[in-house]
Symmetry: none
Subunit: 229 residues, 2 copies
Amino acid sequence: MHKRILVVEDEASIRDMVAFALRKADMEVIHAADARAALSAISDTPPDLILLDWMLPGMTGLELARRLRAEERTAEVPIIMLTARGEEMDRVSGLEAGVDDYVVKPFSTRELVARIKAVLRRAQADGGTGSIEMGGLRIDGPAHRVYAGDTQIEIGPTEYRLLHFFMTHAERAYSRAQLLDQVWGGSVYVEERTVDVHIRRLRKTLEPFGLDGLIQTVRGTGYRFSASP
Amino acid sequence: MHKRILVVEDEASIRDMVAFALRKADMEVIHAADARAALSAISDTPPDLILLDWMLPGMTGLELARRLRAEERTAEVPIIMLTARGEEMDRVSGLEAGVDDYVVKPFSTRELVARIKAVLRRAQADGGTGSIEMGGLRIDGPAHRVYAGDTQIEIGPTEYRLLHFFMTHAERAYSRAQLLDQVWGGSVYVEERTVDVHIRRLRKTLEPFGLDGLIQTVRGTGYRFSASP
DNA sequence: TCGCAACGTGACAGTCTCGTGACAGCGCCT
DNA sequence: AGGCGCTGTCACGAGACTGTCACGTTGCGA
């Protein structure tokens, strides 16, 4: 799996470390120290994935992410954000800007590579359209919409994020803590049982469309999303 | 969440403080004063996480980290480094060696525990073992599912953990005490005979699928999981 | 062959988990 | 201000799961 990764990061030490790890994982690394350099690097050939630092000189990573999403050439390129601890609270707005995943500094290279691979795998799975379909349910990432066949389903923000996470991480059990981490964002204090309630609401929203059994309870562990019962 | 943590630290005061905090957080603490002791402690059963002091007599923590990464048994075990203030600049080389996180001294035990939990959660999220198949039985770790051929088997939490342990430690006999340790978690008080009952339940759930004889009784010792009768 | 210890089995009551409905607080729009 | 959608929390109850006991069976050494 040879892939081209664009690393947008101004701090040399982190850049070098990342480059070292990615090359070891058989990936090609392109550097950009700031947003302008990133945009010009992309104008040539879009990479397979962009690794973006949250804090950049000139333009924030979030802003750049939005720009990249707006441009057709790069709208479909997965983006992973690098954030320092304490910046996590903006995870939700980041996810809404179309960022695919977050890695919080300090991170281990092992974790980084694992996340990158996961995101690449997912990107490949949804064929680049940004929408995922399974079990009669379709979620349109860029448009923030959910369909059951042709009819659109009205869905709240949290329910949407939960469903989106599930559909991008199907066939796998997650604990309530993990779901809080991933869907609510790492730095919030909410009861774990709150997850149950949102699961319940999501199930209730999907039920009228004959979409039962998609969200399964894994007793003693958490929940799982899967098209097969 | 009962976890085994190996603490590699030569300074007694820090070691005791850490041990106290971790035990309070329901973790089992193994201790090693230097690199050699650490390696020998690991040779038995690898822990779930290693807490490593940067400065150690004989071998630096970094060196030890590399050694651990190189060895297959411990390559996946998360490592957290304890560093004194001012040693931070070497963070990059540490991350290159595959260290998962840093905690800078002086630290609060609360922070330490939080970091440990975070790292454990991430390590667990990275999928771990994937799926294992043997003797016509397949267990899908990430999805938390068990199959006999194509049909899924309904299974309770404890039965699942027991089966999972057996399939990851097949062809070897375990005493009831060992099973309680590994499957129930070390800090619980249950009768040893309880193991028998769960073995029985597991056998019973597997039986309808023609999966007999997978769990064998080793009279006077305990039980063993094996594909061959 | 006998007797004992180890193991299998069924039943049971307590505990824990999860689903569910209700409710109050909050931000937003009219 | 009032209505409305959304969210987090709580309390309750059904059902699943668990640990333990009592008793039946089996294997093994004397």
